[in-house]
């Protein structure tokens, strides 16, 4: 407790104005910033995948399986920041056995379980099943057994079975879109329903969260597709362009919602506006004005508007392919920084001002410790390692998909 006391004593010295004595300790740390960022990526990547299946956007087909695997990799890591944050992680199961149905947080266990099993795992299973069976037939050794196990023993690849798979994928994707909305929307509701906190309490927060999730998800798949494509030397420019234009559309909506929230707050000028204004001008200036607004939204918006085919089949400014790729990459990375800052500004920002509306405190980010910066960085890196493993076991590339060779099928 000495470390904590030292840390809090130095926080106390940096308080300006008046805060309630219990507010010196910030309750939710960077881990709670990482969690919505991760589930946002999951929801966003899945929505992108569903674009191809449900809305039949053929150009982004190469990213379909990659998006699903990305979503899975991040989804598996998502509970970790929460577990690390809990005072009693060994009691976390209580959320599943005695959930308080009035609590948004209690819904986490069920929404997560639903999304993981019924949506993501099932969709991946149905989509890959035929390939798993065919790969298992041709392979040897450990790989063969892994693939065989993943089929769950369902090895029928007759026309009827494969058609059932296709229909199932379509159905699950349809089901998955509102589920993805729920998976990340409930996080927004978790904050938006806290009437005690005027920075959080807003009808718009669930919607803003959702759209910034979509933006970050599309951006992340773009980055991954581009980087893996560069490594494998096969990048389809049409796919990339389409991703960029969807990124632009989503960003427009996200930007509009955030501007709407801003204007609405300023216009209504409720009692909290003074302290919130002070907070933005002092504590959140860099993370909100610079990182979230300027670097994370405005600059990518302008760049994408100019160089992506968002307004029709040709862009406003023609950039050569190489330059376009690098600019897309830069935009997507800036967007990740911007969306992470958005989460930071919501979570940390909501705790930097006092509920007495009379003072501001500071957040001392530790480097080490279970709630420190290093832990968060590791939590953000591990999904990529998982994704690497998934890509190895379930290659999402068009070339890797197994084809039904007539003789082989007849022989089995």
């Amino acid at each position: 407790m000495d470390g904590l006391t030292q840390q809090l004593t130095s926080v106390l010295q940096q308080v300006t104005g008046y805060i309630y004595p219990n507010e010196v300790e910030l309750q939710w740390s960077i881990l709670i910033v990482v969690y919505p960022y991760i589930t946002g990526l999951v929801a966003g990547a899945f929505i992108l995948a569903s674009l191809e299946r449900v809305f039949k956007v053929k150009e982004v087909e190469p990213t379909y399986r990659l998006a699903l695997l990305t979503a899975l990799a991040f989804l598996l890591i998502a509970p970790l920041p929460l577990q690390l944050h809990l005072g009693h992680p060994e009691r976390a199961y209580e959320i599943l056995i005695t959930p308080n149905v009035h609590s948004a947080m209690a819904m986490f266990g069920f929404v997560y379980a639903w999304y993981l099993t019924v949506v993501l795992l099932l969709e991946i299973w149905f989509d890959y099943r035929k390939d798993l069976v065919l790969w298992a037939r041709k392979e040897k050794g450990l790989r063969k057994w892994i693939h065989l196990a993943l089929t769950l023993g369902s090895t029928d690849i007759s026309e009827k079975a494969v058609e059932f798979d296709r229909k199932a994928v379509r159905f699950i994707t349809l089901l998955g879109i509102p589920s993805a909305f729920l998976l990340h929307g409930y996080v927004g509701f978790l904050f938006g329903s806290i009437k005690a906190n005027p920075w959080w309490s807003s009808v718009l927060i669930p919607v803003v969260f959702l759209f910034s999730a979509i933006v970050s998800g599309i951006g992340m798949v773009l980055i991954l597709y581009l980087l893996t494509g560069i490594v494998r030397r096969s990048v389809e420019m049409t796919c990339l362009d389409k991703l960029a234009s969807f990124l632009f559309y989503a960003l427009i909506v996200d930007f509009s919602l955030e501007v709407l929230d801003f204007i609405h707050r300023l216009y209504e000028a409720e009692e909290s506006i003074k302290i919130l204004g002070q907070m933005i001008a002092s504590r959140l200036f860099i993370s909100l004005v610079i990182l979230q607004a300027l670097l994370g939204t405005v600059i990518p918006l302008i760049l994408l508007a100019l160089i992506s085919p968002a307004f029709g089949s040709r862009a406003l400014m023609r950039f050569p392919e190489e330059l376009r790729r690098i600019t897309y990459l830069a935009c997507a990375v800036l967007i990740q920084v911007g969306i992470f800052s958005t989460r930071w500004n919501v979570v940390i920002g909501g705790q930097l001002f006092s509920k007495s509306l009379r003072g501001l405190t500071v957040y001392k980010l530790e480097l080490l410790g279970s709630e420190g910066l290093f832990t968060s960085i590791i939590l953000l890196i591990v999904p990529f390692l998982l994704l690497y493993v998934f890509i190895k076991i379930l290659p999402p590339w068009k070339e890797s998909a197994a084809t039904l060779v007539p003789e082989t099928a007849a022989g089995e």
Binding site: Y93, I97, T98, T117, F126, S154
Partner: protein
């Protein structure tokens, strides 16, 4: 039913069954009895040990002190405020003797001057009020009435006195405007001081016709806000207009 559905159904049924069985063993027994919580927690919360005994317990063994205390000015001050939590003392009177604050540091926690303390509450300046001497040297904590009746109003009306001290009325004695019976210093609420009732009172010094010293500011009472009494605008203890 397609093969896939059969396989999946098995997996999901297994998962569901596990959850139901786990629930049966993991949900605490008293959960849900009175509401969505563990009913046993109510008794657990109620079973904490007591540290403070409550002032009603002291009379059992210390009737004379309590009697003196209950007749005097500290009658609303519970014994444990000064003597600390005493439940342990009741358990074992000789093992745990309650401390008694004998230094000058404790009494000012209540009686040290702070302008936010209500007017009339007895306050002293801990630095200048009989320095070095322990408080209990003059004041019996169980009957803390001052050894001498306070001469100055500022003894109990420190904030007013200090505010007035900064103002143009600094040299004006309290008794100039307030008539006070001697017994107000002993039983303050039974005999309250008078207050000026009309503009003419202030006019004694501040009207054009006043015989008061010339440095006192004069005002034409016939034209200066005739509908109001003076203290509706001017705070008597700091009457400056700016």
């Amino acid at each position: 039913m397609p093969q896939q559905t059969k396989r999946l159904a098995i997996v999901f049924l297994l998962l569901g069954a596990t959850l139901i069985v786990a629930r049966h063993y993991l949900v605490p027994k008293t959960f849900g009895a009175l509401g969505h919580y563990r009913a046993a927690s109510i008794d657990e919360n109620a079973a904490r040990p007591l540290q403070y005994a409550g002032h009603e317990e002291c009379a059992t063994c210390h009737p004379d002190k309590v009697e003196m205390h209950d007749k005097a000015r500290h009658k609303t001050v519970a014994c444990e405020v000064c003597h600390g939590a005493a439940a342990a003392h009741i358990e074992n009177p000789t093992e745990h003797k309650p401390p008694a604050p004998r230094d000058r540091g404790y009494c000012p926690l209540c009686h040290g001057y702070d302008p936010a303390r209500p007017t009339g509450f007895p306050q002293i300046d801990p630095v200048s009020h009989n320095p070095v001497k322990p408080c209990i040297g003059c004041h019996n904590p169980h009957a803390p009435e001052a050894p001498r009746t306070p001469q100055e109003c500022s003894a109990c009306h420190g904030e007013i006195a200090r505010t007035k001290g900064f103002s143009k009325h600094g040299a004006v004695a309290c008794t100039e405007c307030h008539q006070v019976e001697e017994k107000h210093k002993v039983t303050p609420l039974l005999s309250t001081p008078t207050k000026p009732q009309n503009r003419d009172f202030c006019g004694r010094c501040h009207s054009q016709e006043s015989k008061a010293p010339p440095e006192i500011v004069r005002v034409d009472f016939s034209t200066h806000n005739p509908r109001y009494v003076c203290w509706q605008c001017h705070y008597s203890h700091y009457p400056e207009a700016q």
